[in-house]
């Protein structure tokens, strides 16, 4: 029993229930949809890296921003006209920076939940047995690297600011463009997702034990906490918004979409 065990030789075994789960609802639906959603993002990301039509003045496709490569980036696509990567580099500019927002999402506490569940099936759903014989969690390499999430957060803040800067530039140069507004909405959502991060919540004031001694940080924490409660929703919405914005810019650049206010 609790603190003590009667000295009765009752055998200590779990109740034998042969099936993996006794759940009667469609528990497999959510992991399946998650799998499809995340897979589509991966597939799109690979395509976006290969595709080079990422700029049409004044729009920069988010997957390629900031564009830092001398050989590949037209002036308007460069951040403050800056291209530190020399002529020698001829691959996709997206390849250089996608690791940062990608890593941010890969180590994000929400995305971890969703891919552990839908890709790893560990577990596929609550109270459904996982198929693995052994489980060690995030204690050792490589999964222990998830702990660097906060560094990706710092980088994601920078990327978020760049996307906001891109959107502002578009706003200045083409306020009537549909693309401008798509970039603006995307920048808002990306930044909201970034700020709603659990690491951000920890950094603002979560690490403190006396909120009352740090009223400003406490207010920031309260704000972040509110966003944090919507981290999952923001993760999905911003993922689709960045895909949509990226695709839109590329379609305009390719001339597939062409109308006066595009």
């Amino acid at each position: 029993m609790t603190q003590t065990t009667p000295e009765a030789p009752v055998r200590r075994q779990r109740a034998q229930v042969k099936v993996r789960t006794l759940r009667t609802d469609r528990w497999w639906l959510v992991p399946l949809l998650t799998f499809l959603g995340l897979s589509s993002f991966l597939v799109y990301g690979v395509w976006a890296i290969i595709d080079n039509s990422f700029f049409v003045d004044p729009y920069v496709a988010p997957f390629a921003s900031p564009c830092l490569v001398e050989a590949m980036c037209p002036d308007g696509a460069r951040l403050f006209g800056w291209a530190p990567i020399g002529e020698w580099y001829t691959l996709s500019p997206g390849l250089l920076i996608l690791g940062l927002p990608g890593g941010f999402r890969l180590t994000c506490y929400y995305y971890r939940k969703s891919y552990y569940r839908s890709f790893w099936l560990s577990p596929p759903a609550c109270a459904v047995q996982e198929p693995h014989g052994k489980y060690t969690g995030e204690r050792r390499f490589p999964l222990i690297l998830q702990n660097i999430h906060r560094y990706f957060f710092y980088a994601a803040i920078v990327i978020g600011l760049v996307l906001a800067y891109d959107a502002v530039l578009a706003l200045i140069h083409k306020p009537e463009g549909l693309g401008t507004w798509i970039l603006v909405i995307n920048a808002v959502l990306i930044n909201a997702y970034t700020v709603s991060c659990h690491s951000c919540r920890h950094i603002t004031a979560g690490r403190l034990n006396h909120f009352s001694r740090h009223p400003l940080r406490y207010r920031a924490w309260t704000f972040v906490s509110k966003l944090n409660a919507k981290h999952q929703q923001l993760a999905w919405v911003s993922m689709f918004s960045v895909m949509a914005a990226d695709l839109y810019v590329r379609l305009v650049a390719k001339g597939i979409i062409s109308f006066p206010y595009a």
């Binding site: 029993m1 609790t2 603190q3 065990t5 009752v10 055998r11 200590r12 075994q13 779990r14 109740a15 034998q16 229930v17 789960t21 006794l22 759940r23 009667t24 609802d25 506490y109 971890r112 939940k113 552990y116 569940r117 560990s122 577990p123 609550c126 109270a127 047995q129 996982e130 693995h132 052994k134 489980y135 060690t136 969690g137 995030e138 204690r139 999964l143 222990i144 702990n147 660097i148 999430h149 906060r150 659990h198 690491s199 919540r201 920890h202 979560g206 690490r207 403190l208 034990n209 006396h210 909120f211 009352s212 406490y218 944090n228 409660a229 981290h231």
Partner: protein
Amino acid sequence: MSYKAKFKVWRGEGGEGRLEDFTVEVNDGEVVLDIIHRLQATQAPDLAVRWNCKAGKCGSCSMEINGKPRLGCMTRMSTFEEDETITVTPMRTFPVIKDLVTDVSYNYQKAREIPSFTPPADVKPGEYRMQQVDVERSQEFRKCIECFMCNNVCHVIRDHEENKTNFSGPRFLMRIAELDMHPYDVADRQEAAQEQHGLGYCNITKCCTEVCPEHIKITDNALIPMKERVVDRKYDPLVWLGNKIFKRAK
């Protein structure tokens, strides 16, 4: 209004057993625990079930209803179709004693391995001064009624018995978070959370939060913040450097 419901209840002792079929009367406004009690009173007087307050406050009647961890007293019969067969089994992660009663001593052992609240030696009872905002986080965790359904549903031990030695489960990792966030607690808990209580096993798949009858945000408010505090301590070179240079006020 009353109808006959079909129930399958796991019955057995010490692991061995089977699902037994029952047909039993259900009345308006009843919960699953009422039906189990009706079975006791009319068909199976020795059907074992653990319960106490019958109001969702003591956390005794944890069981699995149609495969989901639930409190029997908080699961209304009106959430099921009248022709649905309702399957009731004991919690899967803990050894079964008899029928729906499991041996939850794992939880009490883990509770005992967490050093208790450690206030500074010079504060006397009656001298504590804490602001509401400083106690609110820990207060949320203290709503816990210790039904142990979070530990039961957690795949780390549910699917891997061998992890029980090194993993204290969401309930007790949350207890560590509660103490670590307590404005007056001076003990160092972050190292132990990771090394002895297995915080690193948690892959934040959030089933603990999903089953919590008190709706405590275990993952978002306790486990992840605790993981972040552990990162401060163990994995973040910048924080480590900062702590060397400036003495950080907790």
